[in-house]
Each structure stands twice: as structure tokens, then as C-alpha cells.
Amino acid sequence: MKLENFIILFIVIPMGSGVIGVFLKERVRIARVLGVMSFLATASLAIGLLIHLRSHPTGILVSQMGAWPAPYGISVVFDSLSGLLLAASSLVALACYVHSFSTVEPIAEKRYFHPMVQLLMFGVNLAFLTGDLFNLFVSFEIMLMASYCLLTFGGTRLQMTQAYKYVLLNLVGSTLFVIGAGLVYGMTGTLNFADLALFVSKRQAEGRSLPPGFAALSISLLLVFGLKGAIFPLWFWLPDTYYTCNVSIAGLFAGMLTKVGIYAIARTFPMIFAHGNSDANRIVMPLLAVSAAFTMFLGVLGAVSHHNIRRILAVHVISQVGYMVFGLALMTGVALAGCLFYMIQHMVVKSCLFLCCGIMERHTGTDDLEKSGGLLKRDWYLGVVFFIAAMSLVGLPPLSGFFGKLVIIREGWESKWWLSIFGLLTGALTLLSMLKIWGYAFWSPSAKAIERTPQNMSNTSSLRPAYVGATLLVLVALFLGFGAQPVYDIAFRAGNQLVNPDEYISAVLGPHALDELTQYRQQEATRLAAAAAVEVMP
């Protein structure tokens, strides 16, 4: 089997195990083993490919579906960006899935819980791998469909009413996406990312402007991706959604859903919709910058004001998304690498915190900070895991969050210093809110009013999978902190390929796709040199 053909396994494995999982209704044990195997397989495949591709000249693998050539068929592209995200998302999914063995209700397990998690990952993996705009839409829909089902598994009234907000909002977003994709096709005649990037680069090399309305199109797509990614004006759906569902699922959502929206912006905007020096770029960049500031700051203010562990964590997701948007708003290779690193570490760390939160809820029977306490005495191991994850989120030096923030804030210091100040301020407030959880839940003396319900008296053996999940993620987080260099090597490559898409274009469309573009560029260079010579002459 050729190396290119391996990348489709990221899609086939979760889909296949999802299909089989539908039929394992009562056989919960087999379904669990199948799911764990599937996530292990995708995670090891992603990591293996990433290590293998370090010596590859471009690090891009392309598989053309059905052997139809690129702009006409469907391309599936594995590059450094998608590889890193695939590895992280598979590991996070594995951990959350294992954790869910001790939190999910037995009735849900018999009703398609396992296939739905697999289908969610099918959608997420497809989103990271796809090489065209329309399949991005399709993968969003698959992912959202699975997430709708996972959201409403408990079937309580609160879940139902909260689900409407999420479902209807996302449906409207999807409609906008369809219209946007149609507009892109109408304007450019293609939907393939590489082909679109070539179109934009060619127009700019020729000195021609983009089709009228291209900037409006960029903004409508930014709206769609921003809605999925929960950036500033579009984040209102997030806290309630993560508050009502099962805690392992909330961890999975916190890791995946917003990141896919940010990934979509990172994939399409530097390369296509805000590439180079276009009208679209001039409109999108300030929008992103302002949105980043508000997302970071308002998110963390929300987190500081809440008194419920799960709500604090959920609102924090928004604030951290702000950092990623900050990286995107700078749109340089280094900043995008920082954004990518931050995305990965945030996936891992945030999910880990949610998983810890699940164990805490089981210990104390509540997620209200006022009522809980004394956890450090009762379970020191959980305290250590939570502390490492929380400090990674805050960004204390040897831990992973530091390296993500460092690169973004340093890169932003020269061009957008005010954003960097917002970033530092947000970091301080993040520390405050994390210490609040730490102080109330772990350090405070044992709360008087812990009800000894059968639920929280449950023996620790049923919590064993939950500890396994949280431990796995905290180990990954520690690796990202102490082994940041190899990850950053790949991330820098990804960032540069996003800003300068030539390698991506020639990998997808073939080596001759760039011929015309280089010709234009040479003509432009000679023209400029001639003009400079004329200026010097007199």
C-alpha cells in the first residue's frame, strides 16, 4: 500500500467502527474495546506519519479520491497542520472515551452512544483532512449531527431546551456555509483549497483585483467558522451547551468542536480568503483582531464571575479561543505556528480539566464551588492532575500553555501591542479563576454539607477508567510542555505553508500547477527592476 493511501484510514476506521458499533447494542464490552482500538489506531497512525514525514521535503501527503485529478475530484490532504491536529484530537478522544466508561449512563451505552462518538470523530477527522470547501461543510455536518445526538442523550427537559439553541443556531450557520460555498463556486469556478489558493495568488501576481464581493464572501465564511469556533459575538451558545451534557462528552466537545471552527479559519483564511494584500485581508484582519481581544477578555471575565466548576471551565474555552484568534489575526507564519501549538495544547489541557471535573463531581456530588471542598485530603492524585492541567492552561513556564502564549504574544508585540496586553491580562485573570477552583474545591477544609448519596459514595473502582483518561491527557500535556521543540518544528512548517501556499498547491495540483504563477512573478519582478532602474537613471 502506498503511503498516500494510509491517510484515508483516518476516515475509514472511525466510520467502520461506528457502523459496526450500531450492531453491538447490548454487547457493551465489545463496543468499548472496538472504540478504544479505533482511537488508538488513528492516534498511532497520525503520530507515526508525523514522525515519518519529518524528513519529507514538504511533509504533505495527498490522496485523490477515486483517482480523479485534483480540481475535479475530491482531495484528501495530510499536511503538518492536519497531522498535528489529528494526533491531538485522537488522543483527546481516546481519553474522553475511556473516561466516559465511568460517567455515561448504562441506558445511553445501549442506545448508540459508542457509534455516535465514533461518528463525531469521523466528522472531525474528515474536517482536518479534506482538501475542499464543500467537504469541509459535509464534515461539519457529520460532526454536528453526532454532537446533537450526544447532547440530548440524557433526555432531560433542560437538555432538550438547551439543545434547541445549539441545533437551530448551527443549522442557520450551516445554511450560510452552503450559500458561501455556492458563492465561492460561482465566483471562482472551483472549491478545491489548493485551486482557490492558486486562483488568488495568480490574481495578485497579475496585479488584478479579486472578483467583486470576494471580501463579503470572506466575511460570511468568517461568520460561519466563527460560530462553530465560538469567537466574540457568536459565543453565547457555548456555556449552556457544555453545562447540560454528560461531563466526558463536555470534555470531548471542549476539545474538538471549537477547534474545528478555528482550524477552518486557519486553513482557509491565510491561504485564500485573506491571502496577501487584498481588500478581504484589509477587512478581515481588524475584525479578527478586535474579536480576539473581546473573546479573550470577556471570556475570562465570565469565568471569574461564575461559581460553578463546569461553567467556569466552559466559559474559559471562549477565552482560550481568543488566543487562537489572536494568532490568526497576526497571520504571520510564526503566529500561525503559535496558534496551532496553542490549539493542540488547549485541546489536551481543557479536556483534561473537564475529565477532572467529572471525577470531582463524583466525589462531592456537586459542581457548585461553594458546597465542595476538602478534595486534596480525600484524593491527592486528582489534585496533582488538576493542578498540572490548570497551570498548563494558565501558562506557567515549563508547562505547555506557556510556549503557546509566548510565541503568540511575542509575535504580536510589534504589530499589535494592545492585543498582547489583553493577552497578558487575560492570563492573569485565568490564573485567578483557576486558583479559585483550587482554593474552594481542593484546599478548603472539608465541606460540611456533602450529602452522602449513593452516587458519590460509589467505590473508586468504577472511577478507574476516569483516572486513566485524565492521566493520559496530563501526560500528553507534560510532553507538550517539556518536549515543545519537536512539536514546534512541525508547527512552524505548518505555519509557513499556510502563509506561503506554494508547496501545498504543487502537492495537490501537481508540480506544473505553479508554472504560470512563477512566470507572472518573474515578469512582475523584471518590471519592478526596470522601473527602479528608470528611477535611478536621471
Binding site: P71, Y72, F134, F137, V138, E141, M145, Y148, C149, T152, G155, T156, R157, L158, M160, T161, Q162, A163, Y164, V167, L168, L171, V172, S174, T175, V178, I179, A181, G182, L183, Y185, G186, M187, T188, G189, T190, L191, D195, F199, P211
Partner: protein, 127 residues
């Protein structure tokens, strides 16, 4: 053709937006389904002539044809890509509709109402 299509799109959008402003979840759901149809129609309306990269065969191909004319075969070939997009979007809309309808049925069974205001008061009660 384009004018008729754009009028259709406008009408469907208007109807769906009107439905979505209602207070009943049923009408909101119907509005969302119609919104999807409006989006699909708008793809047809927008993608009449691809600017570039079409196979030479399809240059200026109309989006809808009524009959095959052997004298001008090129006039009766349509650009297939928008149709593929729309078909996919319809399939997805179908799945979403199934989900939303089941959610409506479940909600009305659990809460006994589909009115948004009443649901708001019901939601906070325990079940």
C-alpha cells in the same frame, strides 16, 4: 431563468424568516428547513457560468435544460457540480430534519408543549 430563480430564492427566504420569528418550535423548525431549500436554490441561481477551470466542454453551459438539441449539443449539457453540491446538501438537510422532528416529538412528550415561552418555564423544573 436567473431572474425567476432569484425571485424564488427571495420568496422562500422571506417565508422561512417569517416562520422562524414565530413562538412555536414547530414553525421555527419549518422555517429552518425552508432556509435550507432557499440555500440550495441560491446555489443553482449563482453557479450558472463558472468563471474558469471548467472542462472546455462545459463553457457557458446552462444550469437547467429542457430538451436535448442535436444541432447544438453544447447547449444541452449542464454543469454537474452544483447539482452534486445540492444533492449532498439535500441529503444532509434530510438527516437534520429527521433529528429535529424526533427532538420535537420528544420535547412535546416530556414538556407537554412546544411553545417557547412555556418551555422556558418548564425547563427549570425537575423531571
Amino acid at each position: 431563468m436567473t431572474i425567476i430563480l432569484s425571485i424564488c430564492v427571495a420568496v422562500v427566504f422571506a417565508v422561512s424568516l417569517y416562520l422562524m420569528t414565530g413562538r412555536e418550535l414547530k414553525s421555527i423548525a419549518m422555517g429552518v428547513f425552508l432556509l435550507g431549500h432557499a440555500a440550495n436554490l441560491s446555489i443553482i441561481a449563482m453557479s450558472r457560468t463558472p468563471v474558469r477551470h471548467e472542462p472546455q466542454l462545459l463553457k457557458g453551459a446552462p444550469i437547467l435544460t429542457s430538451s436535448f438539441d442535436p444541432a447544438h449539443p453544447m447547449n444541452s449539457i449542464v454543469d454537474p457540480l452544483p447539482q452534486a453540491l445540492i444533492l449532498t446538501a439535500i441529503v444532509i438537510g434530510f438527516a437534520v430534519m429527521a433529528f429535529l422532528l424526533s427532538l420535537l416529538v420528544l420535547t412535546s412528550r416530556k414538556a407537554g408543549t412546544l411553545n417557547l415561552e412555556q418551555l422556558g418555564t418548564v425547563a427549570t423544573q425537575d423531571d
